[in-house]
């Protein structure tokens, strides 16, 4: 190994890559501009849609209720509801989203409130449809209030106190530190995102530096130099790693900035203040706090993964004759990467001696734990060791590939 040669190759590749539009787009433009744009855009649209749906009066069809005029009048008087007359089959109206739901008031309902037997109010809704779901919530709130009022009047009628039927109450209070709550909430998502970024960031430079060079005819020029091929591979490898790490860092920075700036914009600065003060687990779900030590741990664990990706991508694309051919080899790999990364987000999949040996899945699981402040040192050592081993095999494979004449001069 000759470090001077490695650095020379690396610096040239860096300069070359920074002048390549495709690499620049995947390494700099997407993380710094597109991610915040998507986060802001999608967040803004979503919050607007939800707010609009919440503000909109729920359109309700009332079935029956002729002998319960008081209830019907109260429903009509509630500004949250807009009573619609069914001009056909109400079930069809619901499934066609013409109304959000239908309320079936049983016969003699109002009379039964005075002391009759229990009656059932049926709510017909559209399962999974957001507006219908919100409407059901509102109607249930209405009837809950009515039930409580009825109970109170029944108790009062018998000269009993209202708290007779409420001997105790339950209250919830979070005792987990904010970092742990945040880690649990987004702990699965962060390593998943980092792993995908780590891969996509390395993809274009890896192709450009190998298959791209072969296609442009510069590979033979480079091989004419007296530099040992191992040094050329390592120089190129370092460049791919740089692109991968730069993509991750830029994305995380831009995501953090857009969350804080976007959060403070949406909440009038309260979210940012809360985040700065470190108080509260999250500000209305906008800024989940995570353990910074956990984040450092994530990066430490991602490092061998980045090495593995860079070497595998270089090896695969080196085999290809052209940029296009390399793309067709490398693109399906994204699915192979996503699958174990996604499995790590599933609730039932936990870190064990077996899962600690499955590449990518092990890192996703460990990162989730670390971000929640849980450090299984034995598993972490196993994961780091096994991933480093896979990465070393990847680099060796890459060097081997570079020494194969049939691959280098494949045309």
């Amino acid at each position: 190994m000759n470090w001077n040669a490695i650095v020379t190759v690396y610096l040239k590749e860096l300069k070359d890559s920074l002048r390549d539009r495709r690499t620049l787009i995947s390494m700099v433009v997407i993380p710094t501009l597109l991610i915040p744009a998507i986060m802001f855009g999608a967040g803004l649209v979503m919050s607007k849609v939800v707010k609009k749906a919440q503000d909109e009066a729920t359109s309700v069809v009332i079935i029956g209720g002729a002998d319960s005029p008081g209830i019907v009048a109260a429903l009509k008087a509630d500004p949250k509801f807009r009573i619609v007359t069914a001009d056909g089959d109400y079930k069809q109206m619901i499934s066609e989203k013409k109304v959000r739901l239908a309320v079936e008031i049983p016969e003699g309902f109002e009379a039964a409130l005075g002391g009759g037997g229990p009656k059932t109010v049926m709510l017909y809704h559209y399962e999974g449809e957001m507006k219908s779901g919100m409407g059901v919530g509102e109607v249930e709130r209405f009837f809950r209030a009515l039930r409580e009022k009825t109970i109170e009047s029944r108790l009062a009628g018998r000269g009993l106190a209202a708290d007779l039927i409420k001997p105790f109450e339950t209250k919830r209070q979070n005792v987990a530190p904010p970092e742990k709550v945040g880690g649990n909430l987004i702990g699965g998502l962060i390593p998943y995102m980092i792993i995908i970024l780590c891969f996509t960031g390395a993809m274009y430079p890896a192709i450009d530096l190998t298959a791209g060079e072969k296609e442009r005819g510069t590979m033979e020029t480079l091989l004419c130099s007296p530099v040992h091929r191992v040094n050329i591979v390592l120089g190129k490898f370092l460049m791919v790693m740089t692109a991968s790490v730069a993509t991750i860092v830029l994305t995380l920075c831009s995501a953090a900035v857009s969350i804080v700036v976007g959060g403070s914009m949406m909440m009038g600065g309260s979210a940012a203040r809360m985040a700065a003060a470190g108080g509260g687990a999250r500000a209305d779900g906008l800024i989940p706090l995570i353990d910074p030590t956990g984040l450092v741990g994530v990066f430490a664990l991602i490092a061998p993964v980045a090495v593995l990706f860079a070497s595998l991508l270089l090896t695969l694309s080196l085999f290809a004759k052209s940029y296009k051919e390399a793309q067709s080899y490398v693109s399906p790999l994204i699915i192979v990467i996503i699958m174990p990364a996604m499995m790590g987000m599933l609730p039932g999949v936990e870190l064990s001696a077996k899962t600690a040996l499955v590449p990518i899945l092990n890192v996703t699981l460990a990162c989730k734990e670390m971000l929640s402040g849980v450090w299984h040192w034995n598993y972490l050592a196993l994961i780091f060791g096994s991933t480093a081993l896979y990465a070393a095999v990847g680099v060796m494979l890459c060097v081997r590939m570079f020494n194969r004449e049939d691959v280098i001069f494949r045309a």
């Binding site: 001077n4 040669a5 020379t8 190759v9 040239k12 300069k15 070359d16 002048r19 390549d20 442009r216 005819g217 510069t218 033979e220 020029t221 480079l222 091989l223 004419c224 130099s225 007296p226 530099v227 040992h228 004449e405 049939d406 280098i408 001069f409």
Partner: protein, 253 residues
């Protein structure tokens, strides 16, 4: 000096089986002389030159380039070789200066030496106008000049040219031929492969005719003319490879 002894290279091909691209090639290129390797397409010229430049490892046999063995000391061989081929392109996103400097650094030159060498080469090859422009915007002539500068930045003792005029316009091709002569005049060992007969006649001190991976004839132009009883190089070549039928059969393969 270049010395090749029983240099052989075989490839495995899934469809055609074992292919012998170069078989038992033995020849010597002396300092201050141009050795011309003449052959049709697929005769084994590129494979031979790539073995000399250590880009390919010989299956058997040996070659010594500038006093170093190509198999055991490939880096030392490359440090003494300038390799220019139609297939050795430039980095389009680098400027001519950056391109030359990169190869200077890869050859272990100091920054001061590189700067001085670039100045000298730019004077000699008249490159000042486009030295700081990106190579992907170059005309063929500019590209060729930059390639030449890249090849000789480390002032190698041995120059290997693999069909360097392929696909070039007349003016650029003439400039290349002129440059090859200059290399010889400066005492370098030069090996030059081509399938253009006129280039061999004009340029080469010794001519090796390669056919089907074998060296079928070797000598000066006068020696070859005497041996085959022909004045014209093309006629000599056809006779040397065993007649038009043999040549056509080889080209079909």
């Amino acid at each position: 000096m270049i010395e090749a002894r029983q240099l052989t290279k075989t490839f495995k091909d899934r469809k055609r089986g074992l292919i012998t691209a170069a078989a038992d090639l033995t020849f010597t290129c002396r300092q201050g002389r141009i050795y011309g390797l003449l052959g049709a397409n697929g005769a084994g010229k590129t494979t031979t030159l790539r073995m000399l430049a250590t880009l390919l490892k010989p299956t058997s046999g040996a070659c010594t380039v500038a006093g170093h063995d190509a198999v055991t000391e490939p880096e030392k061989v490359r440090a003494n070789v300038g390799f220019l081929a139609a297939s050795t392109a430039l980095y389009g996103r680098l400027t001519a200066r950056e391109m030359i400097a990169y190869f200077g650094r890869l050859n272990g030159m100091t920054e001061a030496a590189i700067a001085a060498r670039i100045r000298g080469l730019a004077d000699e090859l008249d490159m000042h106008d486009f030295l700081d422009r990106r190579c992907d915007k170059f005309s063929t002539g500019m590209k060729q000049k930059t390639s030449i500068a890249r090849t000789i930045v480390h002032d190698p003792a041995v120059m290997i040219f693999d069909e360097p005029t392929l696909g070039l316009d007349v003016m650029t091709a003439r400039a290349i031929v002129r440059f090859v002569r200059q290399c010889r005049d400066r005492g370098k060992t030069v090996i030059y492969s081509t399938h253009v007969m006129s280039e061999v006649e004009k340029l080469c001190d010794t001519i090796g005719i390669i056919h089907g991976g074998r060296l079928v004839a070797e000598g000066t132009l006068a020696e070859l003319q005497a041996r085959f009883g022909e004045r014209d190089m093309e006629e000599i070549f056809v006779k040397a490879v065993g007649g038009e039928a043999a040549l056509a059969a080889a080209l079909r393969d």
